[in-house]
């Protein structure tokens, strides 16, 4: 049993499909972040899900999907500023990473471009 079940949590959806749980988070949270399956929260829970796995922030509460093989998917909410900060930090890193990749691609494209009209004609 994960430590989550011993924490103080609220249930917003019970025994539903993963898709409906994701829709609920997307429609009912102020901020929505997407993580990969296996993203670790709290001490020992690894998120189970079909990518993209939505995680939401509503005030001081983090909303996430919790899947049990015999009971389906639940949408759980737990107050945790620490986990919310980690989600935001994770998102920042992702944006930085994709921005860097974009820059590399842009540089690559500009070096490949012809230097003059003559070059262009040769091509």
């Amino acid at each position: 049993m994960s430590c989550i079940e011993q924490m103080k949590y609220r249930l917003y959806l019970e025994r539903t499909s993963f898709k409906d749980a994701r829709d609920y988070i997307e429609k009912n949270c102020e901020e929505v972040y997407y993580v990969d399956p296996g993203y670790k929260i709290f001490k020992d829970y690894y998120i189970i899900g079909v990518p993209p796995v939505a995680m939401g922030v509503r005030g001081t509460e983090m909303l996430f999907t919790y899947v049990k093989p015999c009971h389906g998917t639940f949408v759980m909410g737990i107050d945790s500023e620490e986990e919310i900060a980690r989600l935001r930090e994770n998102e920042k890193k992702k944006i930085l990473k994709s921005a860097k990749k974009g820059k590399v691609a842009e540089v690559g494209a500009s070096t490949a471009a012809p230097a003059s009209f003559g070059d262009l004609w040769k091509r």
């Binding site: 296996g38 189970i48 079909v50 899947v67 093989p69």
Partner: protein, 152 residues
């Protein structure tokens, strides 16, 4: 042939054990994979593992069992991984677990879809997996025949 697969690891992931064909197919597939030279681990919930151990008390067929969530943790933390993964599923939750294994493990994934809604559930799988779909609940043969066609 067996020698070639030495050291290869296979994981069988059990879903909720409420559909009868699952347990017999887990034992059958474990037997088949062991004969083909794979080191087989069967992961499931506490209830599913208990059912399996009751059916195979001396571990004649199934040598290694594991908790499903602990297995996910071990793969994410890179403590273990597998070459093949067979995920049994007959519900949305089972399909969701399959997606997780597809994302975290380097194993070639087989989605074994069964139960009365097998076809609809099979169509909902959009992650990389080889689908083995059979509308089987009590009679294991439709699923068994399809498993037998998998080249190991």
């Amino acid at each position: 042939m067996e020698h070639m697969r030495e050291g290869k690891k296979a994981l069988l992931v059990m879903g909720c054990p409420e559909v009868p064909v699952q347990m017999s197919m887990v034992i059958y597939l474990t037997h088949k994979l062991t004969h083909a030279g794979y080191d087989v681990t069967v992961a499931g919930t506490d209830a599913a593992v208990k059912l399996l151990k009751a059916a195979d008390p001396e571990s004649y067929y199934v040598k290694k069992t594991a908790d499903i969530d602990q297995t996910i943790s071990d793969i994410v933390e890179k403590k273990t991984d597998f070459d093949l993964c067979f995920a049994f599923m007959h519900s949305d939750a089972g399909m969701t677990y399959g997606a997780t294994f597809s994302a975290i493990s380097r194993a070639k994934l087989y989605a074994l879809v069964f139960g009365k809604n097998a076809e609809v559930l099979g169509e909902s799988i959009d992650y990389p997996a080889e689908k083995i779909v059979a509308k089987a609940t009590h009679n294991p043969n439709p699923l068994k025949n399809k498993i037998d066609k998998v080249v190991l």
